[in-house]
């Protein structure tokens, strides 16, 4: 029971932005931020029993998983190789599993995983109730709205993570899961096109250029979206520091997990509409590979980010000087994804995400009922390399606008 609780907690904290501290309770783990904490190690060791050889082969470099005891193999997923059984289990995960997370894993013969997912679901719902209830009780007070909204988003993120984890673990092919990049590329260049349908603005076609340059633990990421049919462009730059995770040089990381702190600036000009929005933001982002919480989730990852931003809107109205408007911004992002192929070689990753930000092109989601305005936007982001150097990116977002597009990726750095 205690192990279950620890496993559930490990999965829970994977979405918490202060995860590196929260997930590594021991002094040893604190000194080795990439190493899974005791609870995590236990979960991995337990679940490694179904496929020790495969896990050991997957882990590059020094890894806690290598030390997993060679327990007696017990392949509780054996019947999962039967496509009809798997289809049934996936249907259970999708349908009843929405109400009772872990139903797919329970049907697949993994009751412990099912319990952990249920615990995460309950925790997520609890946080949503706390956040939503707190907002209602305080009338969305100016003093508490930010933390309570963040709590609610985190709760919804945990709910989504446990649901998607169940579907992933139940649906994933037994013998083909992706592997993360354990060294980050030195640089990644991106050039592509986005179609942005926003009925509020004239622009539709965008040229997108981006560049990530990594030196040691630092990454500089300038990006530009340039409208081809309007006087509109958004330029952003982020400087990130990686506390833990894959780096461009040095020994490979244990997995794809990382923890970054990012300082960003943005300049968004809407010249044909007579205003410009300048922004500054501070954001911390965590990714955790789900293998840390059980081999059933091998190849999947979850992400969380939290931060704040400050926007300044300058109005350009001929002959009328107008004071700028200042507004703050809650930044929160939650994602669930999976690697495919070998992310460091030929392969990549796909993720679905929720982004709470209300600036930029996608902004917040419009809903037809009572609750429009508060939610951010959703997206799907797929990056895949067909050689060690070249790749493609597919990007789709839905918020106040619909965005879809592709980019060509070019990377350099260590390859497998």
């Amino acid at each position: 029971m205690r192990a279950r609780a620890r496993g559930a907690c490990a999965l829970l904290v994977c979405s918490v932005v202060c995860l590196p501290a929260g997930a590594e309770p021991s002094a040893k783990a604190a000194a080795e931020p990439d190493a899974p904490g005791p609870g995590v190690q236990e979960a991995v060791a337990k679940d490694a029993s179904d496929d020790d050889r495969d896990v050991a082969e997957w882990q590059p470099g020094a890894s806690q998983v290598d030390n997993a005891p060679a327990a007696k193999p017990k392949d509780s997923r054996a019947d999962q190789t039967d496509p009809s059984v798997r289809a049934r289990n996936v249907a259970i995960a999708l349908g009843p599993g929405f109400l009772l997370h872990g139903s797919g894993q329970r049907a697949a013969g993994n009751p412990e995983a099912a319990h952990r997912l249920l615990a995460v679901q309950a925790t997520g719902l609890g946080l949503v109730v706390v956040g939503l209830g707190g907002l209602a009780a305080t009338g969305a007070s100016r003093y508490t709205a930010g933390p309570l909204a963040a709590t609610m988003i985190l709760g919804a993120g945990l709910f989504g993570t446990s649901y998607l984890s169940d579907i992933y673990a139940t649906a994933r092919p037994h013998d083909s899961v992706g592997r993360p990049a354990t060294n980050a590329p030195t640089s990644v260049s991106e050039v592509g096109h986005r179609y942005v349908y926003d009925p509020q603005f004239r622009y539709r076609q965008f040229l997108v250029q981006a560049f990530d340059a990594r030196v040691g633990r630092f990454t500089l990421s300038p990006q530009g979206w340039f409208a081809l049919d309007d006087e509109n462009a958004r330029i952003t730059a982020h400087l990130s520091y990686r506390f833990s995770g894959p780096l461009p040089s040095g020994p490979p990381a244990a997995d794809g997990s990382y923890w970054d702190l990012s300082l960003g600036a943005s300049h968004h000009r809407y010249d044909s509409d007579g205003f410009r929005i300048l922004g500054a933001e501070l954001l911390t982002r965590v990714r955790r590979d789900m293998l840390r919480y059980g081999s059933a989730y091998r190849g999947a990852f979850t992400e969380a980010a939290l931060g704040v931003g400050l926007l300044r809107t300058d109005y350009n109205i001929e002959g009328t000087p107008i004071d700028s408007d200042y507004s703050d911004l809650l930044l929160a992002e939650l994602a669930f994804g999976a690697y495919f192929g070998d992310a460091q070689g030929r392969g990549g990753e796909a993720r679905v995400y929720y982004d709470h930000r209300h600036d930029g092109y996608a902004s917040g989601l419009h809903l037809t009922g009572l609750g429009s305005g508060v939610a951010g936007h959703f997206g799907i982001d797929v990056r895949g390399y067909f050689t060690d150097t070249f790749g493609l990116r597919f990007d789709a977002q839905i918020g106040a606008s619909h965005i879809v597009g592709m980019s060509l990726l070019l990377r350099s750095g260590k390859s497998r």
Binding site: T144, Q200, G274, L330, D359, S401
Partner: protein, 363 residues
Amino acid sequence: MTRWLSLICALVLAGCVRPAEERAERDLEIGEATIGTTSVRVSGGLAAIRRGTPGEIELWQSAPAIDIHFQRPKDAPSQWTVRIKNTTPDLLARASGAGKSLSLTQSAGSVRTQATLSVNLPVGESTLSLAPADAADSGSFRFAVLSDVQEAIDDVQDIYRKMNAEPGLRFVLGAGDLTQQGTVSQLTRFEEELRVLELPYYTTLGNHELGAGPPPFQDLYGRANFSFEFKAVRFSMLDSASATIDPLVYGWLDDWLADGRDQTHIVAMHIPPLDPIGVRNGAFASRAEAAKLLSRLAKGRVDLTLYGHIHSYYDFDNAGIPAHISGGGGAIPERFDGIGRHFLVVEADGAVGVKGVRVVRVD
């Protein structure tokens, strides 16, 4: 992957880039009806035609001054009874048709904001003009602002009694969230409570009127987006209940801004473009659209913006325009702000501008 795509597709279906489009299109139908063979049209859609039978019509007025145009064919009845709700107590009605003034009889209703008119319409076009006697005069006047009553409907009489006691108010402007869900029964209850208020209540809708789809608000209370003039001051009411303004409405707004450019111009809507507490974002879904709207309002030299949605009181500037958020109708109040139930009293002058905004506490 296919499951993820299914999830995204579901979200695409749930989300919509023009959630207020249907309401904007519905606005175009408000104030127009064919009753028997007689066509009736209210200029600017400034009244909802609630019901009608040949010879009788009932309206809900959305503005102090309206013109009702009748086109009567030969076979239609000539004697018409016009029952008007939500009108000014000092209503002055005039009728004209066939190139001359028409005689009419005017009787007050059981409620101060109701009136009944009887008029004999000639064949062809005739117009019934309803307005307070001083509607076209310039000069200072005062009105109240009240929004976000919602579940506090049982106690709204306290607010109305306090408004009745305020000297010199001409009408109440509403920035939405009259009800909790916007159902017909809730909207009808709101109207019943209004019988105590001795002033007309001109209002747009809020997000809490969108709980019953399609929202019946417009059938009962008129257009969600409309503009009117009173004593040389222009008022523009916008439907921001879905945290956006529909692109169709931006076209209308441009005309209203042009009309009000040299006037005192007051714009009201439910959800504010910007929330002074940005991390809460009780505001437009898109900061870019917020800036787009505010840029237009500033360019149109709007003098005052009034909002609801946030259950407190905030006084700030947006795009240099004075802004007041007042959600003091009693819905779950924002805690720790020391505000509570309240309404605003605004003093405006067509020549001078907005002379003052005062908070009147109810509790």
